[in-house]
């Protein structure tokens, strides 16, 4: 990366971090440039990888049937006309139907069933007891057909504790993730850009 590119990158980084002090025009300029660049990049990416690679080239290569998905896809643009917007529902229905058909069975066999099977564990160990009790109590917390009172209320409260511990773990990891991004940016500014240390 040349020094000029690095300097531009660094200035945009500082512009975005200036929001930490307070909202300002420099921050908003950097934000708008980022949004504009991203939109342009994705428009180009989709044009190249979908329209050119998966439609235009194979269509002229003899796969005439691709006209059908092309027509279906172009129905999405009918939404621009409020009067005829309902036509786009045909394309949306196809996308939702196809994805549901693929994903429901895929997720059931690939994720849900293996995960459920793993909860059928021996309760001879502390870990086994924790897994069984944790799963049962958490599921009961999400059972809303009966009021959470008496024994059901106690089990549901235990479920909340398991959920809270899980949230705690997620929070700790999220802090680590966000801090890592900050460290990466500061390392770029201090080490790569300014060469203040190695």
């Amino acid at each position: 990366m040349s020094f000029l590119v690095m300097t531009i990158t660094a200035l945009f980084t500082l512009a975005l971090y200036s929001f930490l002090y307070k909202d300002n025009p420099v921050y908003r300029f950097a934000e708008h440039v980022f949004a504009g660049l991203s939109a342009g990049y994705y428009a180009g990416l989709i044009f190249q990888t979908v329209l050119v690679q998966q439609l235009w080239v194979p269509l002229w290569g003899g796969q005439a049937w691709l006209i059908l998905p092309a027509l279906l896809g172009s129905l999405m643009f009918v939404r621009l006309s409020p009067k005829h917007a309902w036509v786009s529902r045909v394309a949306i229905a196809f996308v939702i139907g196809a994805n549901s058909g693929i994903l429901v069975m895929q997720q059931l066999h690939g994720l849900v069933l293996p995960q459920v099977a793993k909860t059928f564990v021996s309760m001879a160990s502390v870990q086994g007891v924790l897994i069984v009790v944790g799963v049962v109590c958490t599921l009961i917390y999400f059972y809303f057909s009966k009021p959470h009172t008496g024994v059901l209320g106690g089990v549901a409260t235990l479920g909340i504790w398991f959920i809270m511990i899980s949230f705690g773990a997620h929070f700790g990891y999220t802090v680590m993730a966000r801090v890592s991004l900050l460290i990466g940016r500061v390392q770029f500014l201090v080490i790569d850009w300014l060469h203040l240390t190695s």
Partner: protein, 276 residues
């Protein structure tokens, strides 16, 4: 002003300043914390070590540029490990917005450093839209999805790809991910096609991934910068992740202090608000 009131009215910019200092100071001062290797990291390392030299592995770069501080050091460690064991790498990405170019940069830089040749030792297939079709299709034939690589070279002309056409030809999948695409690698590629999968992921994703480890759906895991630092330690090649862990640990201590202070302030103000 009471302590509780002071804590409640503290300008949050003081917190930002302290966090900023905690990131910068470890770069100039030798602040280090002990690094313990977790079982998930060890399992991933051992799996890589158990593969025969010269094996073909797949390294999907399912990453956006925004998470590079976490994912790039992990990716570099994985690629270095593979090249050190003379493995061949087939790379690809289901994240169009940066994934293939990140893969290209990391593989070329590490490949050049290790004296590896593109097309023989490593290949970057690039991006194809529709990850469900891509992941399912490659189980039957990689060529049905990728006729050309990232730079437009026909796949059939790449020596490495002559004997690779589905997951069956790949000994291991070491995914680098920062998004839910990894779930589909597990559910489609792992469960349906029986491929062995390990992953290096962002810390945000790590807690969810532990369920896959417990269920045996993944063999090992590197969670964020910490996972990267552990892997670098196992490799004996401390780099970006290790360098960032001093600041990481310092900020965690600071945030724990903030949480304690916040709770002290909360309980003090609640006690003060109670009618006498």
């Amino acid at each position: 002003m009471s302590l509780a009131k002071r804590l409640e009215s503290l300008d949050r910019r003081w917190i930002f300043l302290l966090i900023g200092l905690s990131v910068v100071l470890p770069m100039f001062l030798p602040i280090t914390f002990p690094e313990r290797i977790t079982s998930q990291t060890q399992a991933l390392y051992d799996t890589m070590e158990s593969l025969p030299e010269g094996s073909v592995i797949m390294v999907p770069f399912e990453v956006w540029p925004s998470t590079l501080p976490e994912t790039e050091p992990i990716a570099r460690a994985a690629v270095r490990h593979a090249f050190r064991r003379q493995m061949k790498i087939v790379s690809l990405s289901n994240v169009g917005g940066g994934g293939p170019s990140i893969a290209d940069r990391v593989l070329r830089e590490e490949g050049n450093a290790a004296g590896k040749v593109y097309g023989i030792d490593y290949v970057n297939l690039g991006y194809r839209a529709n990850y469900l079709a891509v992941l399912s299709g490659m189980g039957t034939s990689i060529r049905s999805i990728y006729q050309t690589d990232y730079s437009g070279t026909p796949v059939d002309s790449l020596p490495l790809m002559r004997n690779v056409d589905s997951y069956k030809d790949v000994a291991f999948i070491f995914a680098i991910a920062d998004n839910a695409t990894l779930d589909y690698w597990v559910s489609i590629v792992g469960e349906r096609f029986g491929a062995k999968i390990g992953a290096g992921v962002t810390a945000v994703m790590a807690p969810k991934m532990f369920a896959y480890i417990d269920a045996g759906q993944m063999v090992g895991l590197l969670g964020g910068m910490k996972g990267g630092a552990e892997y670098e330690k196992l490799l004996g090649l401390p780099d970006q992740s290790t360098r960032g862990m001093g600041a990481q640990s310092l900020i965690h201590l600071l945030i724990i202090a903030f949480i304690v202070l916040g709770n002290v302030g909360f309980f003090l103000s609640r006690r003060n608000a109670r009618p006498a």
